[in-house]
């Protein structure tokens, strides 16, 4: 009796009494709730309008997203579907016995060897230096072998502009150069920009104030157009792009490079 009462109370209150409600009953209740909800929505025209507008907006938005995705991502993928006639190179045995084939491949082989020899001849057995201006590093080679590497400083990429028309860009030139001159105990002849940069008046070309000893280190190697590979008093800046276009090195590296490279030695800057 007591159990029946609990079951009845449970059913009336809308909550299952313990675990006694079956799956069928639950689904029945859920569908009843859904039906009631739909009936309510159908009666409430304002809500119905909002739902309809939202649905249309969502469908439209999804269609646009699909359209954009399709055009931007799917079509380029379709373009990459395999094209071409065959399935790639094959090893044709009967062809290899053909006289004409052997003649053609023989000539090709010779051409390849000739071109390879020519290409290898570009790498000189002499000493040369490679300078990396992006990361301010150098590599010194002798007999095609790396003999020294280290830090250097190259152009700062600063464009110095005067209030007039003049401007200078402090960058290290890139490409192939060669050592055009070697100087021991170099003295720096200050160019115009050195004065402009400090707000000083530009002196006449041979004015004593243009000559400054001791700032270029013990050696300097000229690569043309006024660009030098030299030493520095600003050693803490090695490895950074801080120069006016020249290549700065520390004293030890500079000495080795000075002694290794000769006039005519190649300088590759990239």
């Amino acid at each position: 009796m007591e159990e029946d009462r609990v079951q009845k109370e449970g059913n009336e209150s809308g909550f299952p009494p313990g675990n006694k409600m079956t799956l069928h009953e639950i689904s029945k209740r859920v569908s009843a709730h859904i039906s009631r909800f739909y009936a309510g929505v159908h009666e409430n025209k304002k809500l119905l309008g909002v739902i309809r507008t939202t649905l249309i907006s969502v469908v439209t938005l999804l269609s646009v997203v699909f359209l954009v995705f399709y055009i931007l991502f799917a079509v380029p993928q379709f373009q990459e579907l395999p094209y071409g006639k065959g399935s790639g190179p094959a090893n044709l045995k009967e062809l290899k016995e053909d006289k004409n084939y052997r003649k053609i491949t023989g000539t090709l082989s010779k051409d390849v060897q000739r071109l390879l020899r020519k290409y290898n001849s570009y790498t000189s057995g002499q000493s040369y230096i490679v300078i990396n201006t992006t990361y301010n590093k150098f590599h010194l080679f002798r007999n095609k072998k790396l003999v020294r590497e280290g830090r250097c400083s190259t152009g700062s990429y600063i464009m110095l502009k005067t209030h007039g028309e003049k401007k200078w860009i402090f960058k290290t030139p890139k490409g192939k150069y060669w050592i055009q001159g070697k100087i021991a105990s170099p003295v720096w002849r200050k160019p115009d920009w050195a004065f402009v940069e400090e707000g000083l008046p530009i002196p006449p070309p041979n004015h004593p104030s243009r000559w400054e000893p001791g700032v270029l280190g013990d050696y300097a190697l000229s690569i043309g157009d006024g660009y030098l590979i030299h030493g520095t008093i600003y050693k803490r800046f090695l490895g950074m792009p801080v120069t006016h276009g020249c290549v700065r090195l520390n004293d030890e590296d500079l000495e080795v490079i000075y002694k290794t490279l000769n006039i005519g030695s190649k300088v590759y800057i990239f």
Binding site: S63, Y70, I71, L72, F73, V75, P76, F78, Q79, E80, L81, P82, Y83, G84, K85, G86, G88, P89, N91, L92, L95, K96, Y101, T105, L108, D111, V112, L115, K118, Y119, Y122, T123, S124, Y128, V130, N132, T134, S156, Y157, I158, M159, L160, K161, T162, H163, I169, K171, K174, G175, K176, E197, E198, G199, G239, M240, P241, V242, K266, Y268, F270
Partner: protein, 265 residues
């Protein structure tokens, strides 16, 4: 009233159906035109390299022979490198077979980088070997680029009027990080994408995605314009490379704006 509402509803539905049909038709048309583009490009390349291609292709199975093709490939690559080595300029050599990208000046390798991943257009791959080697027997000339970094990181500094205005240069911030992604466009239409492999900051992935998306938008816009005038859109075969960021930066900064590239497939 009821009839009017019904008519409006039917009219609305019809409009939606008509729009949907038009959109689907356009998508089909666009897809067909876009898929014709690689074929058109392939034919253009064949036409451009006709003398050599046709001559060798005349009734010979030799064009599919692996020994012959490997010799042709070697010859084309060496010819291309020698062409560039004759100049004093910096050039890029992409050896995809060995996954190496290197910079050379006059035949001397000045920098080398490991390619961690690469992918290329299907028209550059199987079935078109002979054409590709003929095409790559000369260097590819760079005609333009898109990049996330500047080629020359110029900073403008105004000269002081006198010594009182003079301030020493600021030490450059070498820890500054910017993701390196760029596209090199070549004269024969092949585009070389170079992406940085490391994703140091969470935003690096986002930068690469937007860089790529930007390119897709640019290409799609151009394709849509062509399709609108009933023309087959331009197709650009691509080679996509992933390199360490430092190497990618070195390569981009080193090669001239109108530089040259040799490719070994």
């Amino acid at each position: 009233m009821k009839t009017e509402t019904g008519a409006t509803k039917t009219g609305g539905k019809l409009t939606i159906i008509v729009i949907a049909v038009l959109v689907i038709l356009f998508l089909v048309y666009y897809s067909v035109m876009a898929m014709l583009a690689p074929l058109k490009k392939l034919n253009e390349l064949k036409e451009k390299y006709t003398p050599e291609y046709e001559e060798a292709a005349s009734g010979s199975r030799i064009l599919t022979d692996s020994t012959y093709l490997s010799l042709i490939k070697e010859k084309a690559f060496l010819q291309s490198k020698i062409n560039m080595a004759e100049t004093d300029s910096i050039y890029l050599v992409l050896n995809l077979a060995d996954s190496i990208a290197s910079l050379e000046i006059s035949g001397v390798e000045v920098h080398s980088a490991r390619i961690s991943f690469f992918r290329m257009s299907s028209i550059l791959g199987k079935g078109n070997e002979y054409l590709m080697y003929s095409l790559l027997s000369g260097p590819l000339n760079i005609v333009g680029d898109y990049s996330t970094i500047r080629k020359e990181p110029l900073m403008i500094k105004m000269a002081p009027r006198d010594t009182s205005e003079y301030k020493p240069d600021i030490i450059p911030d070498t820890t500054y990080h910017e993701p390196v992604n760029y596209i090199l466009e070549t004269d024969i239409g092949i585009r070389i994408f170079i992406y940085q492999s490391e994703k140091i900051l969470p935003s690096d992935r986002k930068h690469q995605y937007f860089f790529d998306l930007n390119d897709r938008l640019r290409n799609t816009w151009n394709s849509l314009k062509r399709v609108a005038i009933l023309e087959v859109p331009e197709y650009h075969p691509f080679i996509k490379l992933v390199l360490p960021g430092a190497d990618a930066r070195i390569i981009y900064r080193a090669i001239p704006r109108k530089g040259q590239i040799a490719v070994y497939l």
